[in-house]
C-alpha cells in the first residue's frame, strides 16, 4: 500500500502536471475560486466554451502487474448544473482504460474498457448537487492473467461504494504505464464548469483518503467528530450545516446510503445494515480519520433506536461502544468520571462519544446546533440562571456549590430562568426562559423518539428551546449521574463527554441529544473555602471544601471537622476569569470538643501594653487590641497585677474594662495604685468574652515612686 501521487495544485504554473492543454476558448486554470476550502489556496477550474477541451495531464501514473490495481481520488465540485455530459477524468495507456464522466443529469459514471474494446460501467445512483464538494474515487484492477476475467472497477463517492463492475478481461488494456487527464477531457459541452482539487493516486482506497485537518488538541473537537447523515437531500443539507456551523471537515461526513427514514428499527441487525456497516466501511477507507476520531454526531433523519430482546436501545448508546460486538448493558468504564479524557484515552477503552440531533423538522434540528452555539458564546452563564433538581442532597452538595449557580427544586413548580433541569419529578412546565442548556429526564418517562414531543426531554428540545437533553429509551433507566455530568461541563468538557460520564451502561438505552461539542461556561467568580486542622499553615490549599457565589452573604456548610481539634477555615477570592488570589483575607477557627460541639472562636490577646504612675496615686494602663479574622470579639479586658509579689494573681483582676467600643483598638484606663509592699509592680492584660479568656498580653513593670520619710520628732532636754 502506498500513495503514488499527491497533487494539491498549490505549485504555481501547473508545476505538478506534465502538460496543460487548452483548445479554442476553453480553459483550465489554477484558481482560488476552485480551491478546496479546507486546504490550500488554489484548485483547478475547467470551463468549456463550445466543444473544445481543456485538461491537464500527469504521466507515468502507474504500471500495473497482473492482478494489481490503483485508486484515483479527488475532490469535485460542479458549480453549475452540467448542460450535457462530460468526461472529466481519463486514465489511459494506449486507449481509454477507464474514465469517469458526469451526465447532464448530474450522475457520476465509471466506465472501464476491456480487451475487446467494450465498455463496462457503473453509476452512482444520486445526482451530484451543484455547488457541493464531493470526494470521488475510482478504482481499477487489472485482470490477473490474459485468460482471467477478473479485472474490475469500483466507484466511491464520499467514502462509500457507489457501484462496481467486475469480471472484466482487461489484462492487455492495462498492460503498460498509464497517464491520467483531469478536466474537460472529452465529450465536452458548452458551458460546462468543474472544479477539482486534492488529487491522490494510490494503491488502496486508504492511500487516497481525503485530506482532513490536523486536530487542534488532544480532546474531542470537530476534527475528531464524524457526522452521520442519510445519503439524502435532507441529510446532505444537515451535513452542510455541520460544515458551516460546527466546522466539521468535509472528509468527516459519513453519508449512509442504506439508512431508512425509520427512527426505530426492528432489531440490531437492521441497525447494522443501515448504519454500522457503512460507518465501518467509511472508517476503513479513511484510516487517518479513524485514528483521530473519538466522537459521532448522529444527524438528522438517521435511525436512532433499535429493539433488542424486547428493549428499545438507543443509537447513541450503541455507538458509544462502536467497533466492539454489541452486548446490551455493557458497563461504561468512564461512568462517573470527573476529569476530561483525551481522544486516545477514550478510544483505548473501546469507547466513542456519541450524541444525536434529530427533530420533527430539519429546521428544528438545525436550531439545536444554533442553540448550542449561543450557549458557547456566553463568557459565563448569567447569574440569573438556575439549576433545577429534585435531588435536595445534590443541591446541597459541594459538587453543586462548585458550579456557582443558583439552585432550586424542580418539583411542583415552573422553571423560569432555567439553565439545567436535572430530573423532572413534579415539573409542570418547562418555561422558555433562561439559558436552557439541557434537560435531563432520568425517570421512567421514555425518551423513545426525538421526532415528536413524547416526554420532558423532547418537549424541552422541540417546544421549550433547550439546546440539549438526555433521557432513556426504556422504562428501566439506569440513572444519570448529575455530579459527573455537571463537573465535566464545569471543567470545560463538551456535552458529549459529560453525557458519557453520566451513564452507567453503554450498548443500552440512554439517549443523548444535542451538539456533541457544546461547552458551558459556568460562573467562575466567587469564593473558595479551604480547611485545615491546626493553624493556617495546616490548611490544604489544593482542595476546596466549599464554594460560594460572589453575592452569597451567608451559606450553610457541611464541613468534615476534626473532633476535639482546632479546625481552620480559609477563604480565597476567585476572579471572573477563574484566577484565585493567593492572599487569605478570612480565616475562621473552628474548634470542637470531643462531643463535636463547636466551641467559641478564640480571643486574641491585647498587645502594646504600657503602665505609668499618674498623680493622685493612680496608675494608668494602656494597651491595644484588634480582632483578627476567625477570632471572637472581646466583651472586656481584665488587668492583673502581682501586688509586688512577683506572681500575677489571675484569680483577682485589679481592674476590669467592661465598656469596649466595637471599633476601638486602643484602650486606656486609670485606677488607684494597688496596695503593695514592693516599690515595683507588674501589670498584664487579657481579653474576656462569654466565659473565654485570651492569653495574657505582655507583662510590664512600673516603679512606684516613694515619698521622703517623715522627719522624726526630735526629743531632747528642753531646759
Amino acid at each position: 500500500m502506498s500513495l503514488l501521487h499527491y497533487i494539491d495544485n498549490e505549485v504555481p504554473a501547473f508545476g505538478e502536471w506534465d502538460a496543460v492543454v487548452q483548445a479554442g476558448s476553453s480553459t483550465i486554470v489554477q484558481s482560488t475560486d476552485a480551491a478546496f476550502p479546507e486546504r490550500g489556496a488554489v484548485g483547478l477550474r475547467t470551463t468549456v466554451v463550445g466543444t473544445d477541451r481543456a485538461y491537464v495531464t500527469r504521466n507515468d501514473v502507474a504500471t500495473l502487474s497482473p492482478g494489481e490495481g490503483y485508486h484515483v481520488g479527488f475532490w469535485l465540485r460542479v458549480p453549475v448544473a452540467p448542460p450535457l455530459e462530460m468526461f472529466f477524468i481519463i486514465s489511459r495507456i494506449a486507449l481509454n482504460d477507464f474514465f469517469i464522466k458526469l451526465s447532464n443529469y448530474g450522475k457520476l459514471r465509471l466506465q472501464l474498457r476491456d480487451d475487446a474494446g467494450s465498455y463496462h460501467s457503473t453509476s452512482y445512483s444520486q445526482a451530484i448537487d451543484t455547488g457541493r464538494w464531493v470526494y470521488v474515487v475510482a478504482n481499477i484492477v487489472r485482470a490477473s492473467s490474459p485468460t482471467a476475467n477478473d479485472g474490475r472497477g469500483e466507484l466511491f463517492v464520499d467514502g462509500l461504494s457507489a457501484g462496481s463492475v467486475s469480471g472484466l478481461d482487461n489484462y492487455d488494456t492495462l498492460d503498460g504505464t498509464s497517464y491520467i487527464r483531469i478536466g474537460a477531457s472529452s465529450g465536452v459541452s458548452d458551458g460546462f464548469t468543474c472544479d477539482f482539487d486534492e488529487i491522490k493516486i494510490g494503491t488502496s482506497l486508504a492511500d487516497v483518503e481525503p485530506f482532513s485537518p490536523e486536530p487542534n488538541g488532544d480532546y474531542v473537537e470537530a476534527r475528531r467528530t464524524v457526522v452521520l447523515v442519510p445519503d439524502s437531500s435532507d441529510g446532505r443539507e444537515f451535513a452542510d450545516y455541520c460544515i458551516s456551523e460546527l466546522q466539521t471537515p468535509r472528509s468527516l461526513i459519513c453519508y449512509l446510503p442504506n439508512a431508512s427514514s425509520s427512527e426505530s428499527l426492528a432489531d440490531y441487525a437492521t441497525f447494522q445494515s443501515q448504519v454500522e456497516n457503512d460507518l465501518t466501511s467509511f472508517l476503513n477507507g479513511r484510516p487517518v480519520i479513524e485514528a483521530r476520531a473519538c466522537a459521532f454526531l448522529i444527524g438528522y433523519g438517521t435511525p436512532g433506536f433499535f429493539t433488542s430482546s424486547g428493549k428499545l436501545h438507543s443509537a447513541t448508546s450503541r455507538l458509544n461502544h462502536f467497533g466492539t460486538a454489541f452486548s446490551s448493558g455493557t458497563a461504561n468504564p468512564f461512568y462517573q468520571t470527573t476529569t476530561r479524557k483525551t481522544a486516545s484515552e477514550i478510544r483505548a477503552e473501546n469507547l466513542w462519544l456519541a450524541t444525536r440531533i434529530d427533530a420533527d423538522t430539519l429546521a428544528n434540528a438545525k436550531a439545536l446546533i444554533d442553540r448550542a452555539a449561543t450557549i458557547e458564546t456566553l463568557s459565563a452563564l448569567p447569574d440569573t440562571d438556575i439549576l433545577y433538581s429534585d435531588d435536595a442532597d445534590y443541591r446541597a452538595s459541594v459538587d453543586c456549590q462548585k458550579l456557582r449557580i443558583a439552585t432550586a427544586a424542580s418539583g411542583d413548580m415552573l422553571t423560569p430562568n432555567a439553565a439545567f433541569v436535572l430530573g423532572v419529578t413534579g415539573i409542570t412546565d418547562l418555561d422558555a426562559s433562561g439559558s436552557r442548556v439541557t434537560v435531563v429526564d432520568d425517570g421512567e418517562n421514555d425518551t423513545a423518539t426525538l421526532r415528536s414531543v413524547s416526554d420532558w426531554v423532547t418537549y424541552g428540545l422541540l417546544a421549550a428551546g433547550y439546546a440539549s437533553g438526555a433521557g432513556f429509551a426504556n422504562s428501566s433507566p439506569t440513572g444519570f449521574d448529575k455530579t459527573a455530568f455537571c463537573e465535566l461541563l464545569r471543567v470545560g468538557a463538551t456535552f458529549a463527554e459529560a453525557a458519557l460520564a453520566a451513564v452507567e451502561k453503554v450498548d443500552h438505552t440512554s439517549v443523548v441529544a444535542g451538539s456533541p461539542l457544546m461547552t458551558v461556561a459556568f460562573l467562575l467568580a466567587g469564593y473558595n473555602f479551604y480547611l485545615g486542622t491546626g493553624g493556617v499553615e495546616d490548611i490544604d490549599w489544593n482542595n476546596p471544601v466549599a464554594y460560594a457565589k460572589p453575592e452569597d452573604e451567608s451559606m450553610e456548610l457541611h464541613l468534615p471537622l476534626e473532633s476535639g481539634l482546632r479546625n481552620v477555615l480559609g477563604l480565597r477570592k476567585v476572579s471572573s476569569a477563574g484566577v484565585e488570589e493567593r492572599n487569605t483575607h478570612v480565616v475562621i477557627h473552628l474548634e470542637t470538643d470531643t462531643e463535636d460541639a463547636l466551641l467559641p472562636a478564640p480571643l486574641a490577646r491585647p498587645f502594646d501594653t504600657s503602665a505609668e504612675i499618674v498623680p493622685d496615686a493612680h496608675i494608668r494602663v494602656g494597651f491595644s487590641y484588634e480582632t483578627p479574622a476567625g477570632h471572637s470579639q472581646p466583651a472586656g479586658f481584665e488587668v492583673f497585677s502581682d501586688s509586688g509579689s512577683g506572681i500575677l494573681d489571675l484569680q483577682t483582676p485589679i481592674y476590669v474594662v467592661s465598656d469596649v467600643p466595637p471599633s476601638a483598638d486602643d484602650v486606656e484606663v486609670t485606677f488607684p495604685i494597688p496596695q503593695t509592699p514592693s516599690n515595683t509592680i507588674r501589670i498584664a492584660v487579657r481579653a474576656i468574652a462569654n466565659g473565654q479568656t485570651s492569653s495574657l498580653g505582655k507583662v510590664v513593670s512600673v516603679k512606684i515612686p516613694t515619698s521622703p520619710a517623715v522627719p522624726a520628732f526630735l526629743q531632747g532636754d528642753q531646759s
Partner: protein, 124 residues
Amino acid sequence: MNGSKAQLQNQNLSDLGDLRGKKPFARDERRRFVVSSPEPVAGKNRQTAVAATLERTRRFPTHAARFFELTTDSRLPATIRVQLNHGEPGDDEKRLAEIAEDFLQKNSFNAEIAEHAEKNLDDV
C-alpha cells in the same frame, strides 16, 4: 526560422517514436509534422498536418515550462494551446504529436462511447 528546420512529413501514427529525442524547439520555431487520425469507420486512416510553434518558455522555481500553439487543417476547429512541463525538451515534438493525434481521434472515441451509452440507459 518558422517551419524551416524540422518539417516532418509522412509521419505515421504508429511511428511517433521517431520524434523522440529530436532537437529541442527554438523560441518562435514552427515545425510541421503529420499524424494519423482514424476515421469513424474502422480501417481508414487519414494523414493530417500539424503545425507547432514554441510561443515562449519560462522557468519557474519548480519546473521549466514550454508554451506551444498547435494548428491543424480544418478538421480541428480551433487553436490548441499546450504547456509542457518537465521531461526532455527533445521529446516535446512527440508529446505534441500525441496530443494532436488525440484531438483528431475525438470523433471515433465519441462514437465508441455513444454506442456504449445507448446500451446503458440506466444512467439517466
